[in-house]
């Protein structure tokens, strides 16, 4: 069986604006709107051609699903995505704190 190679979506890879549009299914207008609302930040906002950290694709795809499935306007999408990012950050922090807690203490 052929083995498929997977690529990481992490901050050390980049996508161009066009790539991010294609992979997320968002139009360029929608993506620019997300940038305007502060949901997605290009690596260099002043650059002529925007590029994004590859992990931003996860956020862009989530935005597209929310818009389509929950019938949200761009402002609503921005609000939900921002809150979801915050939940994710808090979950990461919680996982970090749990990892640092001795296991015996965790069990009690």
């Amino acid at each position: 069986m052929k083995i498929e190679q997977a690529t990481w979506l992490h901050e050390h890879y980049e996508f161009s604006l066009a790539e991010l549009c294609e992979l997320s299914g968002l139009s360029e207008t929608e993506l620019r709107e997300l940038v305007d609302y502060g949901v997605l930040a290009p690596i260099e906002p002043d650059a002529r051609d925007w590029s994004f950290r590859a992990d931003r694709l996860v956020v862009a795809r989530s935005a597209r699903r929310l818009r389509k499935d929950l019938d949200l306007d761009p402002h609503g999408v921005a609000l939900v995505v921002t809150l979801l990012e915050r939940v994710r950050d808090l979950e990461t922090e919680l996982r970090d704190l749990r990892a640092k807690l001795p296991r015996r203490q965790q069990q009690s």
Binding site: I3, A6, H10, D96, P102
Partner: protein, 315 residues
């Protein structure tokens, strides 16, 4: 073809108004949307609800669905004669068709009838799968077996569910919550549209000894009281085998001893650290001699671990 009870899935009456259906969908979407919901099985439930709503929200599709009559969910049934005409195709077999896939093709019939034909490029669907791997696998990199059921289109353009199995290589550098992309491994594109992608969400199995936080690892290191006081050298397990760790004299509980670069490898370069968290372990049943020695120590020592309580009380 197996019957799906779209009204039942959404929990609405067959006579429900379009407004009621829309409101119910919104309620269910808020509850089960995989981006928002933490309920177990939410993703599956949302797929069912979404499929039901796709058909019931469209008056033409809903009418076509209603003409199928009412059957038990999962029951094999045959649509009334000529029913398939609205899908723009000629004769075809219903045997292995999925009702949801079929309704997603519904607009094809309408588009054919109008000008322009039905040759719009449709990108394939993306899929998302969680891969549960062990910490050892994340450390070394691993291969996972994946199985997906994706719709593929026959010559007439009708979708059939096809089971697709393949192996994917997860390079080293994985940690909890990280994502991988497998380009082109999602659903097939239609009329020259690009194939969908498969996204892998990495989830680490809990480990007996180590706890991961990003690429750093944490390990409990129990020390005997005299080891903590006098200092020692201990053998500590890592994912690459046992290493020697120097414990300095006067080490206290909760202190973190860092083993640089003994954590998980990072995807681009470098690796996380391993932290041994000191715990002071005491023997549950001390022997007579041990007790005698501890008594002697208690009498000899001027150490007061609660001096700050007394200082606080004296203020």
């Amino acid at each position: 073809m197996k019957y799906k009870d779209y009204y039942g899935v959404m929990g609405v009456d067959r006579k429900a108004s379009a407004e009621e259906i829309k409101n119910t969908y919104r309620k269910l979407a808020r509850k089960y949307h995989p981006d928002v919901s933490k309920e177990p099985g939410a993703e599956e439930k949302f797929k069912e609800v979404g499929e039901a709503y796709e058909t019931l929200k469209d008056p033409d599709k809903r009418a076509a669905y209603d003409r199928l009559g009412s059957h038990q969910p999962g029951q094999d049934f045959r649509p009334p004669p000529g029913w398939e005409k609205q899908f723009g195709g000629g004769q075809f077999s219903f045997d292995d068709l999925d009702l949801g896939d079929l309704f997603s093709q519904f607009s094809r019939g309408r588009r054919r009838a109008g000008p322009g034909g039905g040759k719009i490029r449709v990108p394939g669907e993306d899929y998302e799968v969680t891969a549960h791997i062990s910490l050892e696998d994340a450390y070394r990199g691993t291969e996972v077996d994946l199985e997906l059921e994706v719709p593929e289109h026959d010559e007439q353009g009708f979708p059939h569910r096809v089971r697709r199995a393949f192996k994917a290589r997860i390079p080293k550098g994985a940690t909890d919550g990280q994502r991988l992309r497998l380009p082109g491994k999602g659903g097939k594109g239609l009329n020259g549209g690009r194939d969908g992608d498969l996204y892998l969400n990495i989830a680490l199995h809990p480990h007996r000894l180590f706890r991961a936080s990003g690429h750093d690892l944490y390990l409990d290191l129990p020390l005997a009281p005299w080891e903590a006081v006098l200092g020692t050298s201990v053998q500590v397990p890592t994912l690459a085998g046992t290493v020697s760790l120097k414990v300095p004299p006067g080490t206290h509980a909760g202190q973190r001893l860092r083993l640089a670069s003994r954590g998980l490898p990072k995807p681009h370069a470098g690796e996380g650290d391993l932290f041994a968290i000191v715990q002071i372990a005491v023997p549950t049943a001390a022997s007579g001699r041990e007790r005698a020695l501890f008594k002697e120590l208690a009498e000899a020592s001027t150490f007061n671990p609660r001096g700050h309580f007394e200082r606080e009380a004296a203020k």
